[in-house]
Subunit: 251 residues, 2 copies
């Protein structure tokens, strides 16, 4: 087997829990709207917001405006709608400021992988500004090679098109067999790089239901502790032990 | 003299220091861009950013993208521009989260004014979402009558058009002589309400140079301590003493 030279990661639900964060941010937003004077039950507003996001996609930028349009006028009497919306938006962003955190084992793992000389990068699907903000806020920047950050929107190629992974490999100058991609979606993160001959690791702790289990990754791991074991045993990498309960920089 | 029933405030440079906040947020943004890998002198980047804001207005939403377009490519070699922009944007927003604070005497003054039964509101010039966010983040919401918040963009009337003040008075059902407007700009906050017969207070601690001093407000005050004295002496209002160094809610 060729030695491993690079390891690339999906971001959402691979390096942090998208669902946990989004739920918290949306709950906080709804509560702030109620505190600002909206007169409704929290659950009713929250479920209407979920509907808006499903209908307009999570990348739409006016969720809270749309939400207010759909709520009964009686619930808004005596308020200024702009203030209700602004309260929701501010609470959402404040959650991002405080609670957008990587999985406890993600940064320690990245640090360990870098310490043995591997190129570390991300191949992520989404809008450039949104994915770049996640990379910054998750604190990934110091642990990634700056030339190994690939955002689908920035390259004009979307997952699951394998060309995205091909472009990434070309940019970092690494052959498919020398690179591993790690992600939570079998169809988007495993099948395309596998088709190029890349090594793949499926991290299943947040994997959604309904995936095509006929797609076989090189490795199935629960978390980064387990992936570290795989790298030590099967790739002869001398990864240091790491404490997944302490994030680098806080040691 | 008619008794005072309502007091309306401009926001920017009246309830908080726009300049102090903007300078801090932009400095933090530039520093974050340098930490993310931009290879330039801080002062050169900061002054280019100032130029961008002057040319595209402070309400433009893509300052950092434009900034990067204008910086030499040599300063960006080996970086991903989206990450540089995202680092600047995140640092700017984080400053908003932490440092968007009213003048120390603003909330205590609002609280005192409300305790004697006056209607308190704002008449502010700018984009709806931006001004609403300031009202929320400055913590003004609990001290304002919800039906007394007027944002020029939301009403379709911009300062210095006196109709904006007229619409505000009509909405709260108060005669011009029973209302006072407080602001830092003689041309935008004093002349128009004065033309309607409103009382006016010019708060000059952050007043810009080059104002038309021929415009005479009812009162010239340094800060809200002084305005409280005016309200006690000239309007017979029994305003409680307040400690301007302690914000309400922190007592």
């Amino acid at each position: 087997m060729e030695p491993l030279r690079a390891i690339l990661f999906d971001i959402d639900d691979t390096l942090f829990s998208t669902t946990t964060f989004a739920t918290k941010a949306r709950r906080n937003a709804v509560r702030a709207m109620l505190r600002a004077g909206l007169k409704m039950e929290e659950e009713a507003v929250y479920s209407e917001l979920q509907e808006v996001i499903r209908e307009f996609s999570s990348n739409y930028s006016q969720h809270f405006d749309k939400l207010l349009m759909r709520l009964p006028l009686a619930a808004q009497v005596g308020t200024n709608p702009a203030l209700i919306v602004a309260s929701g938006v501010a609470a959402y962003h404040d959650t991002k400021f405080r609670d957008l955190l990587p999985f406890a084992d993600a940064l320690p793992f990245l640090k360990a992988v870098r310490s043995v000389g591997l190129i570390t990068g991300v191949v992520t699907h989404g809008l450039t500004a949104k994915q770049a903000e996640k990379i910054v806020r998750l604190g990934l920047l110091p642990y990634l090679n700056p030339n190994a950050i690939f955002i689908s929107d920035q390259l004009g190629i979307a997952k699951p098109n394998a060309k995205l992974y091909q472009a990434a490999l070309r940019a970092i100058g690494v052959a498919p067999g020398e690179a591993m991609h790690v992600g939570d979606s079998l169809s988007h993160d495993i099948a395309p790089p596998k088709s190029l001959g890349m090594r793949t690791a499926w991290i299943y702790r947040t994997a959604r239901e309904g995936q095509d289990l006929a797609i076989k990754p090189s490795h199935r791991v629960q978390d980064f502790k387990e992936l570290a074991q795989v790298l030590r045993k099967e790739y002869d990498l001398d990864l240091p032990q790491f404490d997944a309960s302490v994030a680098p920089g806080q040691e």
